[in-house]
């Protein structure tokens, strides 16, 4: 197992390098000149001279591979440059906003795991019962619900009509209730459905028929033979859904006016604040990759076939 984890960690290096290269490449060869964006953000008229001057300042006059390498050298030491807008180191700004985003997505992930999996299992075990039908309807609604609409409906009902929660902001921990519900609803619905399908699929497996034939108790059969195996696709799916949560957080933070990284990034997109956009992109991708690595490790732990297949 340790070998498997070390191997996967080493594999991260080329992936992160490729990601950083693509991000850097796309920004340099996009339609907007960074020097132009820099000047307009600094309230300096973008004359030819000023542009040429800024290009030298930002190192845009050097050949592309050189630019990338010098940027990479700094990035490795966590230096992502200076924001065009705030003129502060990008990393400081980003780290200031990051905790809210991580808290929001982390809490949503917990919510999804604790509700979608048990409800999906319950649905599968009581197939075609009234609860199963109700939950199926709920999960169908979930996959079709625009998250930002759900957010407004929650604000309207829970805050404005019933007065239970403050509509915006996170001055108290209860401020996370509506954002978490809004963010997790779709992934909750998809994973509940997936759990149901996976459990049903494994109930028909030959090992389960055999376990029943051996006279094992129903509890034993479900617990040992069905649940553990049916969790395998769900772990992968949950890892993938973390990406959806990071993306959805951008919308939810904007909607509920939370001081998170996503909302900050949307602002940077309007103002062409490239160093910030770049850092945001790299950081979110790194978080996503790490979460998926964790999912892979759990997956390997659940499924020895993968563990030995990869290690051997």
């Amino acid at each position: 197992m340790a070998y498997f984890i070390i191997k996967r960690l080493l594999l991260l290096i080329p992936i992160l390098l490729a990601v950083s290269f693509i991000v850097f490449f796309l920004l340099r060869f996009g339609p907007v000149d960074p020097a132009y964006a820099y000047l307009t953000q600094s309230q300096i008229p973008p004359t030819e001279e000023a542009l040429a001057q800024t290009r030298i300042e930002l190192g845009l006059d050097r050949p592309f591979p050189e630019q990338y390498l010098s940027w990479l050298k700094k990035a490795v030491t966590m230096d992502f440059g200076i924001s065009y807008v705030t003129k502060r180191p990008v990393l400081d700004d980003v780290l200031y906003y990051l905790p809210v985003t991580l808290k929001l997505t982390g809490l949503s992930m917990l919510f999804i795991v604790f509700f979608s999996v048990p409800l999906g299992v319950y649905s599968a075990l009581h197939r075609d019962g009234p609860w199963d039908r109700g939950l199926s309807l709920l999960s169908f609604a979930g996959v079709s619900f625009p998250s930002f609409w759900l957010g407004f409906l929650l604000i309207y009902v829970l805050s404005l009509k019933l007065g239970w929660l403050a509509p915006f902001g996170i001055s108290s921990p209860s401020g996370y209730v509506m954002p978490v519900l809004t963010l997790s609803f779709m992934s909750f619905a998809i994973n509940m459905r997936l759990t149901r399908t996976s459990v049903l699929e494994h109930m028909g497996a030959r090992s389960v028929v055999y376990a029943r034939a051996r006279g094992l108790s129903e509890r034993n059969v479900i617990g040992k033979h069905v649940l553990k195996n049916s969790m395998i696709p769900i772990v992968t799916s949950l890892g993938m859904h973390f990406g959806e949560l990071l993306g959805g957080a951008v919308i939810v933070e904007t909607l509920f006016a939370l001081p998170g990284l996503g909302r900050y990034a949307v602002g940077s997109i309007y103002s062409h604040d490239y160093p910030v956009i770049q850092c945001f992109m790299l950081l979110m991708t790194a978080v996503f990759i790490l979460v998926n690595l964790a999912a892979d490790i759990i997956y390997a732990w659940l499924n020895p076939k993968i563990r030995y297949g990869e290690a051997g």
Partner: protein
């Protein structure tokens, strides 16, 4: 309901939407851009069936015109994704070799990005606007489909009917077009239909953030963000466009699931209840 009925019902609904979009100019009671500040937040009446918004524009007309943006963007995105992923996936799967290896690595990198974040990043580079949103969503989705096409091609390449045709002396290109493409196409139609709703949610989500369709163009996501400040007094202005998005996405999902049940019944038990690109179960893994 059996899949045939569901497909029929969903298609009828989509046809009505297409007609409404095409003839929006005839059936809308008002010009969706015409403001009438004296008549803002008018309640529902005979002349304004759903009332007016914060600038006195007719809500119903704006919703009807909004269908255009939604259908157009989804159509553009899905057509481009199919074309791009077919071109790349067929070539990679059928030719193999270095081209295939390079292609797989490029796909791997694209798949490591969270899709919505990558779309945001691309819009950050390209600038805001509907066309850039379309480009960004195509670029974030193609790799999933291209890999799928490649996997299916590899699977079908070894099938008896393909080998038989090759042994009769059919050329490579002819084999691909006549014997592999149709089978892959059916699978792709199912998957892309399952993804249509997801795409619409991305488009309207980005428009809601102010990065896609720009005001005053009527679009449902923009209408919701326009109405947000008035949620306390006029919640209906948020409810109507949201309901439109919800119903449209739901119909796309019903169609996709019904097509899947009808054309590929084995899929139901293959364990993917996930719509969206994450549903891209690799054929190789079967």
């Amino acid at each position: 309901m059996n899949p045939d009925k569901r497909i029929k019902a969903a298609l009828i609904f989509i046809c009505i939407m297409v007609l409404a979009a095409v003839f929006a100019g005839f059936i809308s009671p008002w010009n969706p851009l015409e403001t009438d500040v004296l008549n803002k937040f008018a309640p529902a009446s005979l002349s304004h069936p759903l009332g007016t918004d914060h600038l006195g524009r007719d809500e119903l007309s704006r919703l009807l015109y909004g269908i255009r943006m939604s259908l157009l963007s989804v159509l553009l995105i899905s057509a481009s994704v199919v074309a791009l992923s077919f071109a790349v996936g067929l070539a990679a799967g059928y030719r193999g070799g270095i081209f295939d290896a390079v292609f797989m690595r490029i796909c791997d990198v694209f798949l490591t990005f969270p899709t919505f974040i990558l779309a945001l990043f691309l819009i950050g580079i390209l600038g805001v606007g509907l066309l850039n949103v379309v480009i960004a969503i195509v670029l974030t989705h193609w790799a999933w489909y291209a890999r799928m096409v490649r996997g299916l091609v590899l699977e079908y390449k070894g099938q008896g009917w393909v080998t038989a045709s090759r042994s009769l002396g059919t050329g490579k290109l002819a084999v691909v077009i006549r014997h592999i493409l149709p089978s892959v196409f059916v699978q792709m139609i199912i998957l892309i239909t399952l993804d249509l709703g997801h795409m619409l949610l991305h488009v309207s989500g980005l428009s809601f953030l102010g990065l896609g369709v720009q005001a005053p163009t009527p679009e449902w996501g923009v209408m919701i963000s326009d109405a947000a400040p008035f949620i306390r007094e006029h919640p209906m202005l948020i409810i109507y466009p949201g309901l439109c998005i919800f119903i449209t996405v739901a119909v796309f999902n019903i169609l996709g699931e019904a097509l899947r049940d009808k054309l590929d019944p084995s899929y139901v038990y293959r364990g993917s209840g996930c719509d969206g690109p994450a549903s891209a179960v690799e054929p190789e893994a079967r």
